[in-house]
Chain length 187, copies 2
């Protein structure tokens, strides 16, 4: 699997740019104040608000992102910066499988997921929250709101051993177990 992302320090692919084929823990070390536009040429990546893969996270798939608004993690929280990013190495699994649980520590009702779900409630999930989850294979992105909107949490089988036993492990910024849509990351 090849990974290539080109980041720019001005909007619309202007200004200083740099190509990356692997993770970058702090784009400022490359003379960037922040990233204002980017192109994903291959692979799926996850971007982070802060350095060292901290803060809000958002999936970056192949295509053009001419301004921060195009990749910023959430409408609810308007992200103006991307400081670190890394490839999603397990995103090229043929099969993506995860189990979601109603309560933390893998308790309560559970659901087996292997597809894309723009509304968990429409597929029969009991409420607007997920208490814990296990990723058996591949990678998924979970969203706060239906229709793949709001805060994002990237879940991978080869991080945390695919185990996310409560919402604090969903992401460093995660303040609520509210999750209403989930989809596979397949590039």
């Amino acid at each position: 699997m090849q990974f290539l992302i080109i980041v720019y320090d001005e909007e619309c692919f202007q200004g200083r740019h740099h190509e990356f084929t692997s993770e970058c823990c702090n784009v400022m070390e490359f003379g960037f104040e922040t990233v204002r536009s980017l192109r994903v040429e291959s692979g799926a990546w996850v971007g982070y608000e802060h350095s060292n893969y901290q803060g809000h996270q958002f999936v970056l798939e192949r295509g053009e992102y001419p301004q921060c608004d195009a990749f910023g993690g959430s409408n609810a929280y308007h992200i103006e910066r991307m400081t670190s990013f890394r490839p999603i190495s397990c995103s090229n699994h043929r099969e993506c499988r995860m189990t979601i649980y109603e309560r933390e520590n893998y308790l309560g009702r559970k659901g087996e997921l292997s597809d894309d779900y723009p509304s968990l409630q429409a597929m029969g999930w009991c409420n607007n929250e997920v208490g814990s989850m296990r990723v058996q294979s591949g990678a998924f992105v979970c969203y706060q709101f239906p229709g793949y909107r709001g805060y994002q949490y990237i879940m991978e089988c080869d991080r945390h051993c695919g185990e996310y036993k409560n919402f604090k492990e969903f992401g460093s910024h995660c303040q609520t177990p509210q999750i209403q849509s989930i989809r596979r990351i397949q590039q």
Copy 2:
């Protein structure tokens, strides 16, 4: 197919509320200044910024939307209001099929879609634009950016005869043929 949406004039499902089972061309006629939170109980709906189904549009699937940020159409253009909305009546097709064309008037390279595509370029589409499209069955939502982000355009087989021959027909607000992700609407 049942359709039910409950809209509130305050955030977090507070204040005045009203239930709708069919289209609403102007929520102000029901005493609302605007809609600040909503619950979709069944069916898929499309919301519009302005009355009479004008302005920016956004798909609303089953679940909870506690503030405008949760349903507002785009990060790039932060929508603070929803004034009209309607059910997507053809969204319960078993099969969704559409054809996208590189240029307007159904010219140039074409692609047949029957699945969800978080990145058109990753599935081999030539560029970051779609010149025209035909929906043969069901309903799709097209997005400006990869990963189902940015401006939304809801495309239905039973509107415009499923024919969208140039980007001005994608939506009343559409100013560019830039489309980088497309998914089915299946509720």
